[in-house]
């Protein structure tokens, strides 16, 4: 198991290096950092000297290595838009997005597991038929439309839920970095609509995935043998079938949460949610290349981290993976 984890982490490092190279190549070729810093009024001679001082004329590889060296120390450059280090800007916006994702993951798990299992066990029941037709609708509806519909119904028409912002937040560590909406009633209410609309893409997918996996598992010989051992239906379904159903679902969950992360940009825009997606759109509008690259690197490392964790979790659930790793 230990060897498996080490190997997985090494793979993650390699992926990160490739991504940082791509990010740096973009940064190196788009825009002019000297102009971003000093504007148009400085003479070409002074600009050339500044570029030299900043090391912009060094060979590509030297510049890249310097970039990596800084990145490892936690320095991803400065945003001229916010006039702060990029990492600080991102980490101030990250908690909002992370809480949005956590709420969404929670909704997906709490709804898709029971509904998926139920529709696998009783595929002809009314509830299962309803779930299936409703999930087709969910898959085919784009997020921004779901979001607008939710706002129209719950915020405008029924007026029971707020339609934008994060509401009342609590400073979690007292240093201004993590303002959480999970601790106040108002903050939680503000989370409901964004989380619902964000989960609307993945929820139908997961219900269907869990349903089809479970149905397949229920047909296997070892489930038939579990019945032949005289086990109760609860045990056959919830222990023997459920754990085998989870194997592929866990893997897909990791990948899909990454994609959901990408969808937060749309959701944050519709709900004026002050998270990383919102910050990204601002940076695009103002052409803050430095911040955009930093965003790219941070998002990529989150992807890689999530997938590594998922693979390790999968190793714990599926004993056959561990053997391969320890060989």
């Amino acid at each position: 198991m230990f060897a498996f984890i080490i190997r997985r982490i090494l793979q993650a490092v390699v992926v990160m290096l490739v991504i940082s190279l791509m990010g740096f190549a973009i940064k190196n070729n788009i825009g002019d950092p000297v102009r971003d810093l000093v504007g148009e009024r400085v003479t070409p001679a002074e600009r050339a000297k500044m570029a030299d001082d900043m090391g912009l004329n060094d060979p590509f590889l030297i510049q890249y290595l310097r970039f990596i060296g800084h990145a490892v120390k936690g320095d991803l450059g400065r945003s001229f838009l916010y006039n702060k280090p990029n990492l600080e800007v991102i980490s101030q916006h990250a908690p909002a997005t992370i809480e949005l994702l956590m709420g969404t993951a929670l909704i997906i798990v709490l709804i898709s597991l029971p509904l998926g299992v139920q529709s696998a066990l009783q595929p002809k029941s009314k509830l299962a038929r309803f779930t299936m037709s409703f999930s087709t609708l969910g898959i085919s509806m784009p997020v921004f439309l779901t979001a607008i519909l939710l706002i129209y119904v719950f915020a405008v028409h029924l007026q029971i839920l707020p339609s934008f912002g994060r509401g009342e937040t609590v400073d979690l560590f007292g240093n201004g970095y993590w303002n959480t909406g999970f601790l106040t009633r108002d903050g939680l209410e503000h989370l409901i609509l964004p989380c619902l609309s964000l989960s609307s893409i993945m929820l139908p997918l997961f219900i269907r995935l869990i349903r089809s996996e479970m149905m397949e598992v229920l047909e296997t010989e070892y489930i038939k043998y579990a019945w032949a051992k005289g086990l109760s239906p609860a045990r056959v379904w919830m222990v023997h079938a459920f754990k085998n159903t989870l194997l592929p679902v866990v893997t897909v969950f990791g990948v899909q949460m990454g994609i959901t992360f990408a969808f937060t940009i749309l959701t944050e825009l519709v709900f004026q949610w002050q998270g990383m997606g919102f910050m990204f759109l601002e940076a695009v509008q103002r052409a803050d290349i430095s911040l955009l690259i930093a965003y790219l690197v941070v998002v990529a490392s989150v992807f890689v981290l999530v997938n590594t964790v998922v693979d390790i979790v999968y190793g714990f659930i599926n004993p056959t993976v561990r053997i391969v790793g320890t060989r």
């Binding site: 296997t220 038939k224 754990k243």
Partner: protein, 320 residues
């Protein structure tokens, strides 16, 4: 009700879109305590369905459409699912064909043994583990303590089949139904597993229903044989008689096709043609299109299973 297990006029159908198909067409047999019965036939003859119908675990859309099954004097064919669970794995155990597919890949051997015990007995986990260990020793598995914490994929096919036999011994079975228990194994392992099964049935006084297409295996292990063809028992009797003086032309053909039954270098006998599909069974005797002795009556009237001269029961108009 003196028999341990009595199957009377059992009919099993599969509900398909095109209509019901009869997989088992009115079969009768009995099994006494400690008795070993072999059910033989080609693929699709209804052997496995017979085995599964005893513990009411026929795969959907199959169902018992007629007949009754008595076990220890109780009509278990009328049992509800929860009543049936007190029989399954407890009084009647099953051994499946492919040991690679039978154990759940994500749980340890110990887990799968202990849960079986605890489904049928109020017993602590540590006591259950002790019993599991004892049964693993009984099936002569090397280093049994280690096996308890291993996963199925860490064991060979032969070892897994030993573990499944150990699982079927866990509680107190009166009957073991073994559905082609050695088909998926190497030839050398096959003999070991069959020896083990036979020996355990003798020492524990368990009944055995051995479902197989291998007449050679059946003739070594069982006391009685039922030969099935197209959902019917067409010959039934003591193993010696059925193997050495078969009555039904189909049984004769089966025995003739075993390697070693003819002189070396001579061609093996072969039954021409194929077993009919269940939706398309010929009128009269189902075997008539493949039979050398076929007479006009064979295509009109289904022969009854009746006592023949050598003491076995057979369903044939022509032979006595």
């Amino acid at each position: 009700m003196s028999h341990l297990l009595e199957v009377r006029d059992l009919e099993v159908k599969f509900a398909l879109r095109s209509g019901d198909i009869t997989a088992i067409d009115g079969i009768d047999f009995t099994l006494d305590q400690g008795e070993r019965l072999g059910i033989v036939g080609e693929s699709g003859a209804g052997k496995s369905v017979t085995g599964f119908s005893i513990i009411n675990l026929i795969s959907k859309p199959g169902f018992i459409s007629r007949g009754s099954i008595y076990f220890e004097g109780n009509k278990i064919s009328d049992y509800s699912d929860s009543q049936m669970r007190t029989i399954r794995g407890n009084r009647i155990s099953m051994i499946f064909q492919d040991p690679m597919m039978t154990l759940n890949p994500v749980f340890t051997i110990g887990f799968q043994m202990i849960e079986t015990l605890r489904a049928h007995k109020k017993i602590s986990k540590s006591d259950a583990r002790a019993i599991a260990l004892e049964k693993l020793k009984k099936v002569q598995i090397p280093s049994p303590e280690e096996r308890l914490d291993q996963y199925p994929h860490e064991l060979s096919g032969g070892m897994r089949q030993r573990i499944i036999i150990a699982i079927s011994l866990l509680v107190n079975p009166a009957i073991i139904i073994a559905d082609e228990p050695t088909t998926a194994l190497d030839v050398t392992i096959q003999a070991e597993i069959m020896d083990l099964l036979q020996q355990l049935c003798e020492t524990e006084k368990m009944g055995l229903i051995l479902i197989t297409h291998d007449l050679g295996v059946v003739s070594q292990v069982t006391e009685k044989i039922a030969v099935m063809y197209a959902g019917k028992i067409i010959e039934f009797g003591p193993t010696d008689q059925v193997v050495h003086s078969p009555v039904h032309p189909y049984t004769t053909g089966l025995i003739g096709s075993i390697p070693g039954s003819t002189a070396p270098g001579e061609k093996l006998l072969q039954i021409p043609g194929m077993m009919p599909t269940l939706s398309n069974i010929p009128e009269g005797c189902a075997f008539n299109p493949r039979c050398d002795l076929c007479e006009p009556i064979c295509t009109r009237k289904t022969p009854p299973l009746e006592k023949k001269q050598n003491g076995t029961m057979a369903a044939c108009h022509i032979k006595d």
